[in-house]
């Protein structure tokens, strides 16, 4: 039953919670950031190798610096790979806690969810009649669709909440300055403060 196999890829949306979805998004951002950082490191190394002979002296000092740093890098890599698993997990948790979901990540996820929602609506019929078998997908379609809708609205609510908290923060700063300005001052120093 190719249809069942095909529709089953959307079942992940039924079982996932909002927190799990957010965590997965953060992990993706974290991994992207790590990939980006390691690529940048590689580019720096390549650039150092491509330096002109005219800059030989400079290159020499650069390579001596990179040699100095090499054991540190190796140690860093080692600590990532060899370090106890719990520590790595703790590191990841701490990084995820402070990680903010980027606009791109929000957009991508909303795009993915919306696409999945319309796939479910348009790609599959409610019933498939195979002669002796009648495959009824109506309930499954409804369940998956409503769960996807819920995930979309939670994600949107989260985006709004992030925005409004930043807005409140800024509003507070404005209010603070306004209060300072409208407060009664008794000396010039108070005013200039």
């Amino acid at each position: 039953m190719a249809i069942l196999k095909d529709i089953s890829k959307y079942l992940k949306y039924v079982s996932i919670t909002e927190n799990e979805m957010i965590r997965n998004m953060k992990i993706q951002i974290y991994n992207k950031k790590r990939r980006h950082d390691s690529e940048a490191e590689e580019q720096v190394d390549e650039a150092a190798q491509d330096q002109d002979i005219e800059d030989a002296l400079l290159q020499k000092s650069a390579s001596s610096i990179s040699e100095d740093q090499a054991p540190e890098k190796a140690q860093k890599k080692e600590s990532h790979q060899v370090g106890p698993e719990l520590t790595a997990e703790e590191q990841l948790e701490s990084a995820l806690e402070h990680l903010e979901i980027t606009q791109d990540e929000y957009s991508d996820k909303l795009f993915e969810l919306t696409n999945a929602y319309w796939d479910i609506q348009e790609k599959y019929q409610n019933q498939y009649d195979f002669g002796i078998i009648l495959l009824d997908l109506e309930t499954v379609k409804k369940q998956i669709s409503s769960k996807i809708e819920a995930l979309i609205s939670k994600l949107q609510a989260r985006a709004v909440s992030t925005f409004t908290s930043k807005m409140d923060e800024l509003d507070k700063k404005f209010q603070f300055i306004e209060n300072k300005l409208t407060a009664t001052h008794y000396t010039i120093d108070d005013v200039l403060e």
Binding site: L110, Q156, A159, V160, F163, T164, M167, L170, F174, L181
Partner: protein, 63 residues
């Protein structure tokens, strides 16, 4: 330049940053609750109002 000018300028920059975030919400068709939206709009009046207040303070001092 008066002392508060750079602070207001910094807040204006943060306001621009917020505007960018709002554009993102608009692009994704995410609406703010009306009360929040009004507060958002009011924020843009704040720098002018603070500058006026500061000017008032300084003009009072010079009198």
């Amino acid at each position: 330049m008066f002392k508060g000018a750079d602070i207001i300028e910094d807040l204006e920059n943060q306001l621009e940053f917020l505007k960018n975030k709002k554009s993102f919400l608009d692009e994704e068709s995410i609406k703010l609750p009306s009360e929040r939206f009004t507060r958002y709009l009011n924020l843009f009046l704040q720098p002018r109002s603070l500058r006026d207040l500061i000017e008032d303070k300084f003009s009072n001092l010079s009198e």
